[in-house]
């Protein structure tokens, strides 16, 4: 019985949240030119957007010098629009938003040319 419970806890600890992350507007340059990434983010407690940003910085940005292209002062750099399921993250709680399976998170640089 005890063994079962501990197995259960173990399974919970290694659970993943499955999401899709996109880097648009030229941001893909710091992600090996891959625009779309399917991610399994390890899940202990609920995974928030803040956790996702850490995960991206730790596991996806190969060159640490590129981190400043993506983050500034612990959040997404000014000029990058962050979308949670095609909705401005400002409407979804920004860093505190809790990710769910199937979420699509998009980051896009603002373009200025004309």
């Amino acid at each position: 019985m005890n063994e079962l419970i501990s197995k259960d806890i173990k399974r919970n600890k290694t659970r993943m949240v499955k999401i899709k992350v996109e880097f648009l507007g030229g941001l893909d340059v710091i992600f090996n030119k891959e625009r779309v990434h399917n991610l399994n983010v390890p899940k202990e407690d609920p995974v928030t957007m803040a956790d996702l940003l850490d995960f991206i910085v730790e596991t996806m940005i190969a060159n640490k010098k590129d981190v400043e292209v993506f983050l500034e002062n612990g959040t997404v750099r000014p000029g990058i629009i962050t979308l949670i399921n095609d909705t401005d993250w400002e409407l979804e709680g920004e860093l505190e938003y809790v990710l769910e399976d199937g979420d699509i998170i998009s980051f896009t640089s603002t373009l200025h040319g004309g």
């Binding site: 030229g26 629009i81 095609d86 640089s109 603002t110 373009l111 200025h112 040319g113 004309g114």
Partner: protein, 440 residues
């Protein structure tokens, strides 16, 4: 009389007859054009001209056509976005269109700025556009402003219009246009594009919608801003976005959007790999916004007095990281090219630039790649086997900006003391030494 003469006479007679009919039509149109005794609010020619759009049910018929005729629209920038937007707005019968642009047509504009052509290189873009638009639709009044939009002239221009299209290319003008539009109380159809992508939104809709500062309270770092001349741009991609601007403008004018159904949005077009168009739901007006929030400080007085410093707010890139003695002129560079062979000539432009046009006997390591070597001489020697700490290196890029950054890297991180860059870069060399080299 020869057969040819007879033919010509017959043709002349036919033309005379046609001319007479046209004159009659024109006279009757002019009679009925807006005069109080006319039973029609548009001329007969205008009914024919706009018929195909008036019969589209979504448009709303004659009533909407009259709204278009009464509308005054200001287009800022007659470039990649303005060029496709302008003829559609003119064709649709917007009554008055102002064009602000102080730039002149350059050959490098022509692949996307479709109102201009090869015979107009050097002409003001606003005048070039006006020539085409006047021919397209003589019912539209085209007003040109060959000035650079700034804090001192913006209000005077904006106050004459009902709607503004932001077809500009820098964060600075985007903030200025949004700030002035909020203070004048008109909406902005705002778009941008670079490479294969574009974005489009409507700002300050009915003085309720968010403004540019609501979306972007803090400007991006200047180093992250890419222009069309730097990042490149695909003509039809930016063209589609400009065309979408015209559609949004027509919807704003005829009242398709209302304060009930308008929801802040940002459209994102991608031309590659598969074409996609997505509409993102965006934040509304921000109560903390300095321009349109509850306690605005960016008002007409502050803008016009120059106390809102847009240059300082948006910042600029500092390329000048080399001392004068670390740089050489293109003339000195020419001597080096002809001099001893052991001088290493390093071109730090991106590889796809280098492939278009470059000097023989140069090495190509893009500045980004150089930076990522972290000062490792071994990695540098993988690319340039003969380079050593005591080598003489001359660095070159397109305009002489990246080459300064590369010079700093080579001196400070790779510890190669004898490095200089070429002032003005490859393009200045082409201009001053050898114009037979392809310049892109």
């Amino acid at each position: 009389m020869s057969e040819v003469d007879a033919e010509m006479r017959a043709e002349l007679a036919a033309l005379k007859l046609e001319n007479a009919v046209l004159r009659k039509q024109l006279a009757s149109n002019n009679n009925k054009n807006g005069t109080s005794d006319s039973p029609h609010p548009l001329s007969l020619e205008e009914y024919r001209r706009y018929g195909r759009q008036m019969i589209v049910e979504d448009i709303g018929g004659l009533k909407s056509q009259l709204k278009l005729k009464a509308a005054k629209v200001l287009v800022i920038g007659a470039g990649g976005l303005g060029c496709p937007a302008l003829p559609y707005l003119t064709g649709a019968g917007v009554g008055t269109i102002g064009i602000v642009d102080n730039d002149v047509v350059d050959t490098s504009n022509l692949h996307r700025q479709v109102l201009h052509d090869s015979t107009k290189v050097g002409m003001l873009k606003c005048e070039s556009a006006k020539q085409v638009l006047n021919k397209l639709n003589p019912h539209v009044e085209i007003v040109t402003y060959p000035v650079r939009l700034d804090y001192s002239n913006a209000f005077e221009i904006f106050e004459k219009y009902d709607c503004v299209l932001d077809c500009t290319d820098t964060p600075l003008t985007r903030y200025l246009i949004s700030d002035v539009a909020v203070n004048v109380g008109i909406p902005v159809v705002s778009a941008s594009g670079v490479g294969t992508e574009g974005q489009l939104t409507i700002l300050n809709f009915q003085n309720e919608g968010p403004c540019y500062r609501c979306f972007f309270p803090t400007p991006p770092p200047p180093t992250s801003v890419s222009s069309c001349s730097e990042g490149g741009v695909i003509g039809p991609c930016i063209g589609l976005v400009g065309t979408m601007m015209a559609i949004e403008t027509i919807k704003v004018i005829i009242g398709s959007y209302t304060s009930e159904n308008f929801k802040p949005f940002l459209m994102m077009y991608s031309g590659f790999p598969q074409q996609t168009l997505r509409t993102f739901k965006m934040r509304g007006r921000q109560s903390k916004c300095l321009t349109c929030g509850d306690h605005p400080t960016i008002n007409k007085e502050a803008i016009q007095s120059g106390s809102i410093n847009y240059e300082l707010f948006c910042g600029s890139r500092n390329y000048n990281v080399c001392e004068p003695d670390e740089r050489m002129s293109v003339q000195d560079f020419e001597k080096h090219r002809e001099g001893p062979n052991d001088v290493i000539l390093l071109d730090v432009r991106p590889s796809h630039h280098y492939e278009i046009s470059h000097f023989a006997n140069t090495f190509n390591i893009p500045v980004k790649k150089l930076r990522n070597m972290d000062g490792s001489m071994a990695k540098l020697q993988d690319e340039i086997p003969r380079i050593k700490q005591d080598s003489e290196v001359v660095v070159l890029c397109r305009y002489g900006n990246d080459s300064q950054i590369a010079t700093r890297l080579l001196k400070d991180e790779f510890k190669i003391p004898n490095v200089r860059d070429v002032k003005g870069g490859f393009f200045k060399y082409i201009d001053e030494i050898d114009p037979s080299i392809p310049k892109y």
